[in-house]
Point group: D2
Chain length 358, copies 4
């Protein structure tokens, strides 16, 4: 506490407002002797950045990352790694209209109640822009996990009522909505364009999978792997729900259906059909970890909406500016980042036990 730090061993602390000087992250606990360079991080930032396609906001931030500390001759040293992105495309004047009114679906009122002060420029700290720092830190985590053959993939499972019916990971980055079903992609894009034309926005579901996560990660009782992943992912703005494996469907299932069968695949202990979603008793069992996130429709819409002023007078508001009609394509890399940060933290923590003293 209070709130801008996440993790135990691989521990990130982020800072910055959407229209301040910069946003960034200090990562403490990065393993030493790992080759890191800015392009490793930039690749992931570019997946999150605004203006990348016709279905995202048209703001054009470059989001260039700089490494301020923690490396020596291209390698990590074990000391804090600091990544910073200086803000460029600031147009705080876009927000001056919003100074005296609370935007529906936004944190304007709640921040003011909490702190008795509010940075109204583009949501300040509550802006989705803070996720760039998460993605930067996640890029480091992903690189380390990939060296251990642990891969994390997220994709858009549905946009409104359009659902992906196939799962082909190789096509995710080949369509602008980041779905794993190339056929659904077209309908999803069309749906978003329709909604955008009406100055509206739409929600969706993102699915994420951790492949090849070793068994044994997660801590009883409160820091179960699924509990901490839920913390980690629910902390991303606009996520209204999370489920693992069978998820909410489990509520209509019998125990005899839901229990995964245990079997041996060569020397590996396996379970099927993986209703558990790769986690039993809060600890990974070696199967794919399967997570789904409910993403709400973007709150910023250019329609007249009922609200009140900061003085308590009834008002209507129309939010102009450049906003995402659907958040899913840009949350996909953010979700991957938070999962990577969380899994790596548990992986490092497990080294304490795996190399036990006894």
């Amino acid at each position: 506490m209070p709130g801008n730090t996440f993790g135990n061993i691989f521990k990130i602390t982020t800072f910055g407002e959407s229209h301040g000087a910069a946003i960034g992250v200090i990562i403490d606990g990065v393993p030493p002797n790992i080759y890191i360079n800015e392009s490793d991080i930039q690749f992931e930032l570019d997946r999150r950045k605004p203006g990348q396609s016709k279905v995202t906001t048209q703001r054009a931030e470059g989001d260039k990352v700089e490494i301020l500390s923690g490396t020596f001759e291209g390698k990590t040293t074990g000391t804090p790694l600091t990544l910073v992105i200086f803000n460029k495309d600031q147009r705080p004047q876009d927000y001056s209209k919003l100074k005296d009114v609370f935007r529906p679906g936004h944190a304007d009122y709640t921040y003011l109640k909490k702190y008795d002060i509010r940075d109204h420029r583009g949501s300040g700290r509550a802006s989705g822009r803070e996720t760039a720092a998460r993605v930067a830190a996640g890029a480091i985590a992903k690189k380390i996990l990939q060296s251990k053959a642990i891969n994390i993939v997220a994709h858009t499972l549905s946009i409104g009522d359009i659902k992906a019916k196939k799962i082909d990971y190789t096509v995710i980055e080949k369509n602008i909505v980041r779905t794993a079903d190339m056929d659904a992609a077209e309908s999803m894009v069309k749906k978003i364009e329709e909604v955008k034309a009406k100055n509206d926005s739409i929600g969706g579901v993102i699915e994420a999978i951790v492949h090849n996560c070793p068994a044994g990660l997660g801590e009883p009782v409160f820091d179960k792997l699924d509990a901490v992943l839920a913390h980690s992912l629910m902390s991303i703005g606009s996520v209204k729900g999370i489920e693992f494996g069978s998820g909410f469907k489990c509520s209509e299932m019998l125990g005899s259906e839901h229990n995964d069968k245990i079997y041996l695949d060569g020397k590996k202990v396996r379970t099927r059909p993986n209703n558990s979603g790769g986690i039993l008793g809060g600890i990974s069992n070696g199967e794919d970890i399967i997570i789904r996130l409910a993403i709400k429709p973007t709150s910023s819409i250019a329609q007249s909406q009922q609200t009140i002023t900061t003085e308590g007078k009834p008002a209507t508001i129309m939010i102009e500016g450049r906003h995402d009609p659907c958040l899913c394509p840009r949350i996909v890399p953010v979700a991957e980042a938070m999962i990577a940060i969380t899994i790596l933290d548990f992986l490092l923590l497990q080294k304490v036990i795996d190399n036990s003293i006894a």
Copy 2:
């Protein structure tokens, strides 16, 4: 870390295995000068205890709580409050058959992989029995919150495909499934009895509401109120998903539908229809906080199931003993406890800001 502590100011650390000497909790950070006695806690423990009705396990643990420290002349002193429940109805011999085999849907394999040792007596630390310590701590939190008129109520929203259609909080404790719809209660009980007769189990959904939570609770960026509630509640065994307000339905909604309208009700800032579930930008807005949890069917069922032995040989297993055919009625008080612990922690933390130095 590592895992048996939760909270920042009101901080609980639990211990104990289902068939060890005792389970219990140390609560650090209890506000001083609060009258506490064992009956405050016992009331909540009795709502969680086994053997309370025909739809729960028939084990008959008394679950009597003792206060070992932290009070003086009936009042809290600000020092750690220790609550302990000595285990009575231990039948470890019931579990000796399970020594060499992994139970499907349980943490047997994952604990063994994690620690290279496993207490097979009734799941050891992974037993649902550990939740008694949560309920004991939660009873203290609830008492303090109630003195501030903050109330937390959970109830069974559905069992299998039987859903509550009305919400009447006054009937929850008047039916053994703890649903808020007296008509649905009968069908739910019948459903559970049918399933039990077939040596099977069934899942359900629990809903919880926080009434009268003050605006301003929750910490940006990682310790958003919903993120920490998700952590807190997903750490309860058998929970496979969580959602807030509109939840997964948000994925099919438009922004113009989803955004709650802001209005003034007397002097109070209100929003409707409360799709946000009382939390915006991770901070409470004063509306009811609305949470739903997916509860999987009990893993312990007396049916033949496919598994392997700890030596890696294929095997079948039939889990005897006394188990809950549906976990919802007993998880209701556990969910309330975890919510109370979490809300109180944020309430105490907010005192730092509300009484600011500036």
Copy 3:
């Protein structure tokens, strides 16, 4: 926070008041598969217990420890280890006279100011009795460290102006003041008896050494090994100062004198004369870690002293009851315990790096 937990991986949380039902400790993060039994712990508790010799208080608490959780078939399981000592020799009536008056040198006034309530029975939580929980936890830590050939020894270096002139670790437990100089022991005992005869008390210095601590323990910048040891040891009541290696003498030294020379001893990098006290830049270098603690004279003395009542009236006070005329002999095992807990925590934490991913 708030205050009753110490450590990161090997993490202890203690509870209990001197005249409550019990005192104890939950240890989270104990490595699994370690044989532990009550006698391992009892041995250390007996070194701390009152009534052990003529130079300690004549109270006769048995201090019998019980293990409430965390072991299975004699071995640790990785789950929280709970150790409890039920209080026996309670004479709260001894303290009723102290209810309305602040004892000089005690925490009576400060606890009341902090919490607006005070448990006056034998100092409550501020009693030296809480250190029994530390010693119990420390016994586990010492056992684990000893299996790695890391040994921690503390001894009384001086009592008043009587100083040990020789250091022979083998005699420490052979004299009741726990000094490493058998010749000094006699004078020290005599000194304590003189002081006791005058209803007075006396201070002293304790030295502690960690032998065979591996190089590399300690975390930059804030969690330097010496900084965390200082935290750990200064948290023991009655410690007024701490120094490492050259300690306060360094203030009169030149750099050319103070810098230890670096040389090779076989394959081992060594330094001499070890003014650094085994720690450089906050990280252990493999030399003996050398620590000295200033111990104040016991505050409870049976002499008339000037004070005020809780109502603010001038008063005199004479503290009867059974108190230690010198705290050093009983703080020796407490200091060892806190050092063991701290070193083990860093040793476990270093496993994360030593088995790095890169």
Copy 4:
């Protein structure tokens, strides 16, 4: 953990190496609505900066601080305050000679053992330069404390065997050694110049006082105010010991001498002569908090010293470059900063209790 974060509510996380791009700090938990500007911080940084007088190193870093986040229209917002100092006067080539050899008294060997990699440019993260981030954060803490009339003053009590005999706080900033005794100042400066002329360095003692600290700060049992201050101050490089109030002298005192008398001064409860140093049972009692620190002589000296190479060959080393002949004048503001950060953190934490729910 791991190591670059300090504090609970007012929580600082620092980063940066002496010859990297920048050093800095994120402060989480800054109270909102406080006016902050760069000049508040710069004033304190200038007291720490190199090149400020003939008795400090002649390196001439400007140490200009920039605020990257956490303020809006000149006031803090409750979000993380980020302060950064870009490094200017880097001469990494000065250090290339030190690449393959371990400097006596430095962290070269210990960092290499810990991380298996070492940034040899000016000690990297182990450089005293990291304290600039502490001073920057401390400037914010001091400003807030001053608004509550809590003042922290540190001064040089001795350099080698030259001791201050008077304490006049008004002269501290009027002499370049920062002593409170103007007469001693001259001898101290002379002493340092003599030592410097011989390419040597010298140690000293710093005393610090917290005036007007409210009673009730500090947390039992492990987070006693003196224990956490010891952690905080021992984490500053070159500090070899710390004592409070009577300090090591207590070891030769009787209880009847050492116990402070309690009396009423108007309505205020006071004690004298303050041997406790303002802390009883780990909690402040309202008297001046008195702390003394032992500062070792600077390790970097331009004399031939015995060491080994990183390959394990015997070698001699002569450390050139620009170093402080005595660290005391520059550690004075660092000590004040760490005390301010610690006291403010406890003050904020106490708000939770002072405004209790009961």
